[in-house]
Structure formats: C-alpha cells, structure tokens
Amino acid sequence: MRAFAYERAGGVDEAIAAVAASPGGMFLGGGTNLVDLMKLGVASPGLLVDIGRLPLTEVRETPDGGLHIGANVRNSDLAAHPAVRSRYPALSQAVLAGASGQIRNTATTGGNLLQRTRCLYFQDVAKPCNKREPGSGCPAREGVHRDLAVLGHSPMCVATHPSDMAVALAALDAVVHLRGPGGERTVPLCDFHRLPGDEPQRDTVIEPAELVVAVGLPAPPAGRSAYRKARDRASYAFALASVAAVLDVRAGVVEEVRLAFGGLAHKPWRARVAEEALRGAPATEESFARAAEAELAAAEPLRENGFKVRLARNLAVRMLGDLAAPAGEGSAS
C-alpha cells in the first residue's frame, strides 16, 4: 500500500474542498471497500479525507411522507430502523442480505452505493482491466465471468455492480443527494449508476470531489415489497442474481408494480419492460413469467453465465407470486 496523508473533515464543505484541492484525494467512509482496494493496490490515494465522523447520520421522515437517509448511516442501523423495517421492508431485507454483521456495522450508505465491482480481474493489478486501467482490455469477457453481467454490458466491460441495497433503492424510486464544489444536485438512483459503454472506469455519474450527502425515498408505494437474493452459499456471499419488487394487486389485477434486478448488470436493473407488461394484467404466475421473460429477452449472456437469465426469471416469478398472495398465504420475505 502506498503511504498517504490523512485528514479528518470537520464539515461537509471542508471535506469537499480538501478532496477538490488534492488530485489523489479520496473520501473515506467505513473503509470496508476502499481499504480493501488500497491493500490490493487497486486504489492508491495520496490523501484520505475521512468523512466517517460527519454528522450525516440521520434517518428522518420528510414532510411528503418519505425518508431522508444520511450518507453516514451505517448499513446495520439502516436495516434496523423502525421506519425502514415497517414501511420499506425490501430495503431492510436487501441491506441484511449483504455482507456480514461486522461489515454492515461499519459500512455506510454512501460507501455502499459507491463500492466497486467484485470482478476478479479488476481486483488483480497484475491483469489488464478497462475499468481499472482504461484501454488495457477486458479479460473477463473470454475468461472468468460466471458472476458477471448478462444485461447492458459492452465490449469494454462485463462487470456487475455488487450492491444489494442499491437494488432495493432502485425499485423504491430513491434519489441520491449530492454536494460538490459546484453546489448541490439530486440524481434519481436509477440514473446514478451507469452502464459501462466505452467508459467502464466510471461506475456512476458522480463528479470528482462530489460527496453523497444523503439518499431520499418517496413515500412508500402502495402494496407489498420484498427483496430476494440467490447466491452460492446461504449467507455472506455476493448475489448471482437478486430481485426487489413492490406489487399492488387489486381484485386480482396488477394495479402497480416496480421491479429491479441485481447481479445482472453494471447497475441495478430497473425492469421497466416487465413493469409495463404487468400493469393492468391479471396477477397470475403466467403474467409474471411472461413479464420477466420480456424483460430478460434483452439478455446477452456470456459463455459461463447463461444460468443467470433463468435464475433471475424464476426469482422474479416466485417473488411476485408471493407478494400477490393474500397476507398469510405466502411469505413475502
């Protein structure tokens, strides 16, 4: 690891100014991803600006019935928050489906959104990788890519975004509040992460020295919501595929639905094709399957990850079926 200078920011603007003034400067949240990548040599900041003690730790209800989640709210505190558990169960479940109890105690909301891909080549500085070193190539496309993308990838990069939390936030129409040297802006979560295109080095639309200050949620949508994740072991593993859904069924007909997939793409994949197909359709397994298949028709699996398409379809069908079942007749977890 390269030696680095360290500053503990006294305020949001001070933190932004410190990173803006230092070309090798980075924000330090919980450090569970950044310190890992520094040990691997993938990140080598010359200055760490520690934002971990900034008072961005509030979870508060907003006048419009939504929720404001400070960037420094720890993952475990977010998942345990009574308002999150009772009104946004998919979010609580998604956070709890990620990492371990220890990591969730340390990881922050902002850092979770900005964690980097787990692509093995990205993490190995001895290998080429367009995301780590633009123009060096993408060995994953022909190499080890079982865990990588089936949707929205590019010739330059087939990585997935690893966050579970972000998938639930995508289905819940969250927004990301940013503050940078140029002022404040708010970006819908679904537009925050990018597809790789020909700039795979950019995971998100965040600009240099821009800080995530909070995540905002609108009032909880009608209906029931849940998150489900498929992985190689029962716990403490990244998603092969996951699904977050909100479903409102009235008299057997889908009134409103929101669906997002994780583990399939460079960003949380909001399934708008499936949603469109489902609105007004009978809430039956047939409709759910047809909608999921319509969404996944765009999939371009690689040699080793074709199984993800079927897996994602089945996860979605099963979850929508559970959410459609009247309370008591199915489990919505």
């Binding site: 680095f4 569970t32 310190v35 890992d36 520094m38 558990r85 220890q102 990591i103 849940a226």
Partner: protein
C-alpha cells in the same frame, strides 16, 4: 512544499487501558493490536474482511479490525478477546465454547467469541437479521429470540476452517437460552 505527513499519533483504549501510538496511516487496528500492543488474540486470517478472525468490538460494536485504519479510529474503545475474562473467571461465552468444544484448532475462536458478544447485544436491542420474520418488524423493536437459524445467519461473517459450526452454535445457544 513539505511532503505531507503520513504518520499520526493515535490513541486507542484497549480493554480499558489507554495507549498512545505513533502509527503510519496504513496501520490497521488489527496490526496496531498485534504488532504494536502485543495483543495477538485477534487473528489475521484473510486481511480482507472475508473470514472474521480479526473481529473485535469497537465502541461496543463488532467489526473486522483488518479493514479499519487505526488513524480513523483515534480515541476509540476497543475490546479484544483478551478483555473478555475477568481475571481468572472466563466470560460465559468462553466457558460455553470450552464446554461444547466450539473449536478445533482455535484459530477462528477469538473472532467467534467477539462476534458472538456483539451479535447477542444486537439481537437484544431488537436488530433484525435476514431470517427474522418481517411480521415482527414492530415499531418499538423487541429483543429477537436467538434460534439456531438466527445464530447461523448472524454469525455468517465468521468462518471456521475446522468446521466447528455445530458446536459453536450450541455454545452460543447455551449462553442465550
């Protein structure tokens, strides 16, 4: 221009004893404990938060000390496995691990013990896990009963290469029943 400082003086209160250390910013809490304070209870298994062997309590919460930069935790209160017993009296968790054979080689044990301690407090404060029924998401969280399923899910951040999991779960159950 002067080269920027890459070391700092860091104060850690470990098992009730205050220590002041001059540390390179790269030093993790785990390395500070093991290399600078001679407290080798917390183990370095993977050094990447993948195994849990380095688990300690920082300001009362369990965490992987291998990914914590010591400088970022200046002033923190750290509890390691060395701080669990009171003199010769083992902590009930330590006694239960002995009683139940909750280990074989013992390498993961300090992390398992610190993790279990933090985990029991989390469940006691009503924090859910992925297997906690959503129906119990009451507005004022009640303690979550620690079924074997709950214990397994909540302890999944602690791997045991010897596969002592069954006995580890039994030992934790003994303490929480």
């Amino acid at each position: 221009m002067e080269p920027p400082e890459t070391t700092s003086t860091v104060t850690l209160r470990v098992n009730g004893v205050q220590h002041s250390l001059d540390l390179d910013h790269r030093t993790t809490v785990l390395d500070a404990l093991r290399e600078h304070l001679g407290l080798t209870g917390a183990k370095k298994g993977c050094d990447h938060a993948q195994c849990g062997a380095c688990t300690v309590l920082v300001d009362g919460r369990r965490t992987n000390s291998c990914l914590l930069l010591a400088v970022a935790h200046d002033g923190a209160e750290v509890t390691t496995v060395e701080g669990l017993a009171e003199g010769d009296a083992l902590h009930p968790l330590q006694a239960a691990f002995l009683e139940r054979d909750g280990f074989q080689c013992g390498y993961c044990t300090p992390g398992q013990l610190c993790s279990a301690l933090g985990m029991i407090a989390e469940a006691g404060a009503g924090a859910p896990s992925l297997v906690t029924p959503p129906a119990e998401a009451a507005l004022s969280p009640a303690p979550v009963p620690l079924s074997p399923e709950e214990i397994r899910e909540r302890m999944s951040g602690n791997l045991c290469r010897c596969g002592a999991y069954g006995n580890i779960v039994a030992a934790i159950e003994d303490v929480t029943r």
